[in-house]
Amino acid sequence: MHEMAITQSVVQAVCDRMGDTPVRRVCLEIGTLSGVVADSVQFCFEVITAGTPLEGASLEIIQPSGMARCRDCGAEFALDDLLVLCECGSANRELLAGEELRIREVEVLA
């Protein structure tokens, strides 16, 4: 259950950047191929933020879907897991999107 550790990292990173400023909203990007379950992060968020400047903040999670480019034929294709092959049969692909694990922005008291 690494989502607990991931959520803790989010809170730590926001506190490092924003100090004691109360935070009202956090916007994360969690790609569908990142290996992190967005629902679990949502579940952990309330527990982890208790007693921090993020307590009571809402959590918005954007989930970019997977996109890859085939290194053999050059085609770009969507993938919803890491086992999808290119139509040409190649597994040799470069991921273009879907692995995001980023804090996009926060809304804080002015």
């Binding site: 259950m1 690494h2 607990m4 550790a5 991931i6 959520t7 803790q8 990292s9 989010v10 730590q12 990173a13 926001v14 490092d16 950047r17 924003m18 004691d20 009202r24 909203r25 994360l28 290996g35 992190v36 952990c44 982890i48 897991d81 890491l82 086992l83 092959l85 190649s90 597994a91 040799n92 692909r93 694990l101 980023r102 804090i103 996009r104 922005e105 926060v106 809304e107 804080v108 008291l109 002015a110």
Partner: protein
Amino acid sequence: MCATCGCSGDTILVYPEHEHGHAHEHSHEHEHGHGHGHQEPQTRTVTLEQAVLARNDALAERNREWFAEHGILAVNLMSSPGAGKTTLLERTIRELGVELQVSVVEGDQETVLDADRIRATGAPAVQINTGSGCHLDAQMLAGGLQTLDPPDSSVVLIENVGNLVCPALFDLGEQARVVITSVTEGAEKPRKYPQMFRAADLVLLNKIDLLPYVDFDVAAFLEGARRANPGVEVVQLSATTGDGIGDWYGWLRARLP
């Protein structure tokens, strides 16, 4: 709380215990002089565009630099519980110990059993107990290295917590990642845990001496590993009988700084 993990920092235990000379004093005061009106509070949006694991990644980079400065090869070994990591380490130390100085960082949720097994081979070992944590992170490894104090130009083998999910996400600062699977686990492991296999520099298929007794499709396993990680090297071996183990040693020697 620990920097990257949700667990309490107090539950991360390193054996043998390390003396910490630094004191912890937190005497900061909090004063909030703002009034509370009845209007909606003004807010502003701040763009961060920051990796969630930036802090762990920075600590991992520090570990990586430290390994490079000391000419140390650090390898992160990951598998499910029972794949044979500790048995592989025991044999590796016994057989390579004459030509290479090997020390070991053991990660487990509880007990010092694995570090005791490694020390019985004569190699230095430090045990990190992660408590509720399901993986090692860069900060835990840094703490373990402080206690282990490996010599220059040596090899540090890091046995991560037995788990095919969480350790894949946390960079430790290692130079290479090795995923170990055994034939008793089933050939579908790469398909079920593609994140882990995608992160691997080498895949070891262990316990091949048991192939006559189990229903394990080697070709399907190799195809699954190829789908998750095209071009990844797979070595088939038995840590118990020593079959194929020379290829693992060759891979290690080729990576020495």
